[in-house]
């Protein structure tokens, strides 16, 4: 394969963009993860129900549940945790409803966010503030 002068220039420009990309990455990890999940779609509020306690005595086990009718995937994020991802659900053809519950660890008082990807590709968001008395990350 031979490269013309034009090809070489284009490749050079591409390489430069790839090299400088990391600079443009959002500082906020939560934003990052949300954007990755949304895959370019705008995130709108509503259409998802996130149930979390207002006050959690123990951050080591905080019950959370999400109900997202019509969703194909749900991602739960803890915005104040060292690593924001909590759990991601993918609903299969035998799912009875797009609802799931689990128990998570929260490092401290913070917002918990649920993102739901609908069958048409749109992304919905719900958030809840949880007050944590004793953090759940040890140390």
């Amino acid at each position: 394969m031979q490269f013309t002068r034009r090809d070489t220039l284009v490749m050079g420009a591409g390489a430069a963009v790839a090299t400088f990309m990391p600079l443009q990455v959002f500082a906020d990890a939560t934003e990052d993860v949300s954007a990755e999940f949304a895959m370019g779609e705008a995130i709108t509020d509503g259409g998802v129900e996130l149930t979390a306690p207002e006050i959690a005595e123990n951050g080591n086990t905080v019950p959370i549940s999400v109900n997202a009718p019509g969703a194909i995937a749900v991602l739960i994020l803890a915005t104040g945790n060292p690593s924001p991802k909590v759990i991601g659900f993918n609903f299969g053809p035998r799912a009875g409803g797009q609802t799931a519950s689990t128990r998570c660890r929260l490092a401290g008082t913070q917002d918990v966010v649920a993102l739901a990807k609908m069958a048409d590709g749109s992304v919905k968001r719900a958030s809840a503030t949880v007050k944590v008395t004793i953090g759940g990350c040890g140390g």
Binding site: N60, T61, V62, S65, A78, N81, P82, S83, K85, V86, I87, G88, F89, N90, F91, G92, P93, R94, A95, G96, G97, T99, A100, S101, T102, R103, C104, R105, L106, G136, C137, G138, G139
Partner: protein, 109 residues
């Protein structure tokens, strides 16, 4: 491999066709998040269950990607709806590569 990993699953014995019902799963696992430090200040390596899936007669019900923020003894509750009798299979995947499974039969009636 983590010690004493024991999956527990609660599925109704029978269900009505096409009607959603609840399934509860729990597996005993320490879910070491990788964020904690031991008494000497060294980080304790992450050791969690990173994936859970539930299938019914080969068809998927739910898959979950678990992260370090999931509590010890991960509990997952979800809904399924089926048309015929069959078997639910549950699979948990550990960070160390081991896999824990459980299965439950259900009749539609």
């Amino acid at each position: 491999m983590a010690d004493n990993v024991k999956p527990r699953v609660r599925v109704p014995r029978s269900a009505a066709a096409g009607e959603a019902f609840e399934i509860k799963t729990l597996i005993s696992h320490k879910m070491e998040s990788g964020q904690r430090k031991d008494s000497d200040g060294n980080p304790i390596p992450r050791s969690i269950i990173n994936h859970f899936s539930c299938d019914f007669n080969g068809e998927n019900v739910i898959q979950a990607a678990l992260e370090g923020a999931i509590s010890t003894n991960p509990y997952i509750q979800f809904e399924a709806s089926i048309e015929e009798s069959g078997t639910f299979t549950f699979t948990w995947q550990d960070d160390d590569g081991s896999e824990y499974t459980d299965s439950k039969d259900i009749t539609v009636g």
